[in-house]
Symmetry: C3
Subunit: 308 residues, 3 copies
């Protein structure tokens, strides 16, 4: 059986069987990554375009490595290299790229909904690599994979997402995916960073990090956008750290067994202390490794779909 959809636009509405299939397939590719020859010929002769209209290092690198390890041909296309400067519409740019016969498009864009729009104007299979404040499904999947790998299950776990929930596509993908897999999801952050209608997502809201830490098995700690948020959503970076920063002291006091995730890049001393970032509670670099495996799984499952 394959995935039920031709695209991966988000985790909202994705059936449990699909998520299960992606996580299980990623387990196989995770093993491939430990081999001396980290490469399989699965997508040979397929063309994948990485359409990144927003800066990205680790996500683009992770996708590019996943593609090369599946033997696909990859083309990188960034906004600065686009014909937008020549007055070409986004739609025309995409239709031109598609006319060169690409099989898949991995898209990151600052506007929510662009990956969905791509499915309407292109025949290629579309993977959302982050769109505005909407979703970042492969990040959600790699977080779930990493938790499952460490704890052995997702169902019944209490998992809290900490930070700026309002502006986070990582938070949204985690909420949808984890709830589908049977976890109890909550969020924690200052009120200025939590949507007022958060309850409609069926998640508990904490404003106290100590309480959140004590009552949850896992904390997924989001990055604070230093340049954007300080003085606006939060009084200062130091204040945020004092009230919501994850420190070893807090872990020791509230929940020594809590598992800490972070999507990176981390701000040491802001949302997470250096001690915790390098300590035994966290699995931050496992997430990075698993991200390649998850992306290989999604690319493989979508890329071979029509041939089943």
């Amino acid at each position: 059986m394959g995935l039920s959809s031709n695209h991966l636009l988000g985790l909202k509405g994705v059936p449990k069987e699909d998520i299960q299939l992606i996580l299980d397939t990623a387990t196989t590719f995770r093993e491939v990554l430990e081999r001396p020859i980290k490469k399989v010929p699965t997508l040979q002769g397929k063309t994948i375009v990485n359409l990144f209209y927003e800066n990205s290092t680790r996500t683009r690198l992770s996708f590019e490595l996943a593609q090369k390890r599946l033997s696909a041909d990859t083309i990188n296309f960034t906004k600065s290299g686009s014909s937008a400067a020549k007055g070409e519409s986004f739609k025309d740019t995409v239709r031109n790229i598609e006319a060169m016969k690409v099989d898949m498009i991995v898209c990151r864009h600052e506007s929510a909904g662009i990956p969905k729009y791509l499915t309407q104007i292109s025949k290629a299979k579309i993977i959302n690599a982050g769109d505005g404040r909407h979703e970042h499904p492969t990040q959600g999947l790699l977080d779930m994979y990493s938790i499952r790998e460490k704890v052995g299950k997702l169902e019944g776990l209490n998992i809290c997402i900490v930070g700026d929930i309002s502006h986070s596509r990582v938070a949204l993908s985690n909420i949808y995916g984890l709830q589908t897999m049977g976890a109890n999801v909550s969020v924690c952050g200052p009120s200025t960073m939590i949507p007022w209608d958060m309850e409609k997502f069926g998640v508990k809201v904490y404003n106290n990090i100590d309480k959140a830490m004590a009552e949850n098995d896992v904390l997924n700690v989001l990055r604070i956008q230093l340049e954007r948020d300080a003085g606006v959503l939060i009084p200062s970076v130091r204040e945020y750290h004092n009230y919501f920063g994850i420190t070893q002291e807090r872990i020791d006091k509230n929940n020594p067994n809590v598992l800490i995730l972070h999507p990176g890049p981390i701000n040491r001393g802001v949302e997470i202390s250096s001690e915790v970032a390098d300590g035994s509670s966290q699995i931050i670099l496992n997430q990075v490794t698993n991200g390649v495996a998850i992306r290989m799984a999604v690319l493989y499952l979508l890329g071979t779909k029509s041939e089943e």
Copy 2:
């Protein structure tokens, strides 16, 4: 039999047999592009450098895809990444690149004649990807291929190139190539955009788009350089659209069977209306697809030449 030359610098003087061979070879590669595995091992172990001293999206992407689908190793080299800033001469840069043992160089440059100069200082096979106002031979070839694919022939067809003929390397490559293949070529545009000595090319000159449309089977509509031309060569963009823009109304009135080509990127509402750009008279996206096949054909025919 192979091509008569080791390089593709332009279509001027290229014999009919060579053009025929390229178009026929492209037909084979056009079929490869429809396969699930769009890749052949033909140029494995060959190194191709894309030397792009002028910005380009679709031409570079098209060449890069063609190269990867022929299994060549490709290196991109742009002006901004060059040693020119360190005071190195263009000749020394090229001889350094060549010393790394490259087989072919695909070159775009703002100065006419640079690709020919490359043949004098390098042993690599050279493909011109557009040099100043001189030629853009693979664009000419893909236009011819697309017309032949649609109409079934080139000989005897009346084909008019519309727009800024004076500054267009696309126009020149079309004129040379189409005339060799037996088409009757004409041009159409405001007088400020037509060279005063156009007759020496043996082409008819129209200043009236309605007349040009009525008397030709095919219009190849060039892009207006908005940022450069408005207020200089033409009073305004709107004025140009009124007098020379390709609209459905004009097509219906003058020649409902006319075939519309455009090298892209298109300016909707300037040289071509949105209705026509998306309508049934045009084959703009076919041109893009065929461009990959044409470039595969040229790369293949030149890349395997010495081994015949």
Copy 3:
């Protein structure tokens, strides 16, 4: 037998057997570069990251070609594309890249010692592609290879490095490597460009180019950093050329058999005249070709080391 180290950080302390092995292995790859199919499957499935925090054209190109010709998967990572702008530390960036399971990192950095630091924070094999004023070992190796190829040996040769010795990582790698191989190394330049404690390296110091040329078999002529040095370390570019520039006249007068090397990019008319740069005494473009072979040898020897 393989190399004695897992990394190539510099030529200081590298045993003679290792240098010999690299030079001999490069001879094999030098032959591969003359074949129609310049590619071997040796590093298939290996991932190499080119971490270039300092601009580079020829070194990066040379490494990238070497990697592709060994069939490795390569990823380019530059400072501008890094997460440094998001406040991530260099260490965290590297550990993230490594977590994606890369086998080797080729690193250029403006700070001396960074490649060594990489060996402490990463499990990947590290190749120094130039770090500050410290070392540039593959340049040293390709210089040695090129001299040996031309003269037949290194032992007992008198070799003088000419130019800004104080700021040159090329000079240092040449001194260490050549001394290990039994050459008599000297340096020549204006006093402002020679470290005051040069004698501790066991090299003779010349301030007179005619004398240096007369007494040496080989001159390795360094590039003058025009933008940085004129008016500071030297009165003017013209003055430098008059006193230290390598001209045909000087060669004819002092030592018609002298062999001229230059790491490029060359400043014609500054440290070397155009006549000499294109003349029969120099092997500048051989160095470029040999550079690819040397890098293939180093990548191969390190990349296959654990499997021996």
